[in-house]
């Protein structure tokens, strides 16, 4: 049992370690995945900045090319000088821009505006206010810059919309004066967010003044995003971006990196937020829920090593079970069956270890106890001296006990068993006093010898009775040995002998016993 116990403990320890690893290993893995997702968002944010920068240059180039148009230059020059009607100039510029850019939406343009040298809007194309003109927007930094001769870009957040704008001066036909400026506003809403998502493989949300303007995930699930971004204003001011921030949305968790748009939109809490999905939770339930059938395929899961390991564990366990449990049980059962067949006196308890040794010793003790109980509460071989066999008893009716040592020579009681017995209970006066019995081993005082002797006498007595044609029903070993022990004890007390040996002989066609005291 020792090895079995050790094996079970070892298996339990390994199972515990394996379970602990199974439960804890995903956590650092999830942390690593979070870190990698954060790095991916970092790279996406850098790529977004580069994309915005390239985009801004592209829009500057486009608006600068547009500003070289002669019709526009002439109309703006006229408006700047105050000659002609502004309404006519408005229509001229608007028609011209529409002719040059017939598909604004297809080009990703939300609005185009032309201003004269005084900062007055001459015409707009696109947007909701393309019919209004005449107001002065020269105070806008980008317009002021363009009227001074700069080509620049900015991001505006007006009217609840974000616009990436690029402005350029419009030069006179002689290209020696600035006669106005053009600015183009690029769509910075749903299309822009979708384009970012397509290019960067991250979800995108656009924020302005604490509201989600556009998002590739449902805006209602990002309700807390503006506040969360605003809480990291210090990071945004110093690093121009936030670290990867976790956002809990229902059962899902996202990671978000927010960065401000450049230009004056930064003053209006204009941010783009890149959102990636956080890896699943590390608990067992989430892991099992995220396990797919593909994960359990032969090629994905180490079924063979797992089965081999399980079979190995079971085989070792069964082997140890057989070695330490089944084997001893079989041996002890065989010995017990031998005891039943009277092939032995007790179990060989020294052959068994551990609990089975204890069982064997207990069985031996029980056998001894039963023997004592059956023999009048005295152990075998130490019977108190009693009366001589009573010829009138049931036992005595079948047998005759000789109270004197049997003669050394004479016809055997049974062929092959030695010399014949003398007359019943009457030893010849000249017979040697302590002749050994005609059969069996030399008598000793040990219990084993006594028991063996009585069993031999019983077997011979039973066989003789059968030979004589006498009935043997009811003649059991227990009764027979009990009777012999009683007579033995009585004779030992009477003759003060060491023990008594019984011999079987036939008297008057019946099986009889002769008792011979041994000094």
């Amino acid at each position: 049992m020792f090895l079995s116990k050790i094996w079970f403990i070892v298996v339990a320890l390994f199972a515990g370690v394996a379970l602990s690893i199974a439960l804890t290993a995903p956590r650092p893995m999830v942390q690593k995945l979070e870190e990698l997702e954060g790095q991916r968002l970092d790279r996406a944010q850098y790529a977004t900045e580069e994309m915005l920068k390239v985009d801004a240059h592209k829009w500057i180039d486009r608006v600068a090319r547009l500003g070289r148009d002669a019709v526009l230059a002439e109309a703006l020059d006229s408006a700047s000088r105050g000659s002609g009607e502004l309404g006519v100039q408005h229509r001229t510029v608007q028609v011209r821009i529409q002719a040059l850019l017939p598909d604004l939406a297809g080009a990703g343009i939300a609005t185009i505006a032309a201003v004269d040298a005084n900062g007055r809007v001459v015409a707009r194309v696109g947007g909701e206010d393309d019919k209004s003109f005449g107001e002065n927007i020269g105070g806008a930094e980008l317009i002021d810059d363009a009227l001074r001769g700069f080509l620049s870009d900015d991001v505006w957040g007006a009217g609840g919309k974000l616009l990436r704008v690029a402005g350029a001066p419009v030069l006179s036909k002689s290209r020696d004066r600035i006669v106005g400026a053009l600015y183009v506003g690029a769509e910075t809403g749903d299309q822009f967010a979708e384009r970012l998502k397509k290019n960067l493989d991250v979800d995108v949300a656009l924020l302005l003044r604490g509201k989600v303007l556009a998002s590739t995930v449902p805006p209602e699930v990002l309700a807390g995003l503006p506040d969360m971004v605003e809480q990291h204003r210090k990071d945004i001011d110093s690093l121009k971006r936030t670290p990867a921030l976790p956002i809990d949305v229902g059962n899902e968790t996202y990671l978000a990196v927010a960065a401000p748009f450049p230009g004056q939109a930064a003053l209006q809490k204009g941010y783009y937020v890149l959102i990636g999905k956080k890896p699943a939770h590390a608990d067992l339930r989430s892991l099992l829920a995220s396990t797919s059938a593909r994960d359990l395929k032969w090629g994905s899961f180490p079924w063979v090593p797992l089965l081999v390991t399980i079979l190995g564990i079971v085989a070792v366990g069964l082997f140890l079970q057989r070695l330490e449990v089944d084997g001893p049980i079989q041996r002890i059962r065989a010995e017990l069956r031998s005891l039943v067949r009277l092939d032995g006196a007790k179990l060989n308890d020294h052959k068994y270890g551990g609990g089975f040794g204890g069982i064997a010793r207990d069985v031996n003790a029980a056998l001894e106890h039963v023997s004592i109980a059956m023999s009048g509460a005295h152990p075998l071989g130490s019977h108190p001296v009693g009366d001589a066999p009573d010829p009138g008893s049931a036992f005595a009716a079948e047998s005759h006990f000789a109270q004197a040592p049997r003669p050394a020579a004479g016809p055997p009681l049974i062929p092959g068993l030695g010399a014949p017995p003398p007359p019943a209970f009457a030893p010849p006066p000249d017979a040697p006093p302590a002749a050994p019995p005609s059969f069996g081993p030399a008598p000793t005082a040990s219990e084993e010898d006594e028991d063996a002797h009585i069993r031999e006498v019983y077997a011979q007595f039973l066989a003789t009775k059968k030979e004589c044609g006498e009935p043997t029903a009811g003649l059991t070993l227990e009764k027979f040995s009990q009777r012999l022990y009683d007579n033995r004890a009585a004779l030992m007390a009477k003759h003060d002998c060491r023990t008594v040996r019984f011999t079987v002989y036939v008297k008057e066609g019946k099986a009889s016993l002769r008792a011979t005291p041994i000094k």
Binding site: G139, A140, D144, F150, S152, Q264, L267
Partner: protein
């Protein structure tokens, strides 16, 4: 917003009448982005390559204030009007005494939403439709930047002073404050919509040259160094990201 990280003012203080009072003169060199009139830049700012770029026509709105002078009194409160036309405000800055009222009149076609973002309890966001006006009282001395939340380039500086000694820096960065009594004074420079510099000075006729390395915020600038003479503080402003002026 482009920060004023290396504002380098050079102040030359001269006291012609050191015994009692005199005129404090000086020069303030403001950062390039303040002088250029482009506080909030995008990624690019390129010259057109055909005609020369015109200088910034707007005054930088830099104001030097000397306060903390004992025995002086704050200017009396008054009402000042600021007219907003389109995306421009005139004037772009006002210097008034405590308790003054500033009237913002929208004479253009564009609706504005004015507030003091740094102190919205004082002046919360409120819509200012074309043709309407808004009165705002400024009771506590300090600098206030009133900004339109829709068009942040529209910004008006309201400087409330408790001292009569202040001056507006001209296009070249020069200023002059006459009648300043001798003694200790607190010199503050408002530039780019915030307090860009502040330090204690002795108005005793000595020349002062002040170099500012950086300023964490408008109200608590850090004076890292104080050395040199007039005209030697031409600190360089690092190029803004992506700009190529």
């Amino acid at each position: 917003m482009t920060s004023l990280r290396t504002l380098v003012p050079l102040l030359l203080l001269s006291l012609p009448f050191p015994a009692f009072a005199g005129t404090v003169k000086g020069t303030v060199r403001v950062p390039d982005n303040v002088r250029s009139g482009r506080m909030n830049q995008g990624y690019w700012r390129l010259e057109n390559g055909n005609v020369p770029v015109r200088p910034n026509s707007k005054k930088p709105g830099t104001i030097v204030v000397l306060d903390g002078i004992s025995g002086t009194h704050a200017p009396p409160p008054k009402t000042v009007s600021v007219e907003i036309t389109g995306l421009s405000a005139t004037p772009r800055y006002v210097v008034v005494g405590p308790g003054s009222v500033v009237e913002f009149k929208n004479t253009g076609k564009i609706t504005h939403e004015l507030s003091v973002p740094a102190d919205e309890t004082l002046m919360p966001v409120e819509r200012l439709n074309p043709g309407t006006f808004r009165h705002q009282k400024f009771g506590v001395p300090g600098g206030y930047l009133v900004r339109c939340s829709e068009y942040p380039s529209l910004a008006i500086s309201v400087i409330v002073v408790d001292s009569p000694y202040f001056a507006v820096v001209d296009d070249k960065g020069a200023f002059s404050i006459p009648g300043v009594p001798d003694g200790k004074a607190n010199l503050k420079v408002w530039a780019g919509g915030r307090w860009a510099h502040e330090e204690s000075v002795e108005t005793n006729g000595k020349d002062l040259s002040i170099r500012i390395e950086s300023a964490k915020n408008g109200n608590q600038p850090e004076a890292k160094e104080s050395e040199g003479k007039e005209g030697d503080s031409e600190g360089k402003e690092p190029d803004p990201k992506g700009s190529a002026e």
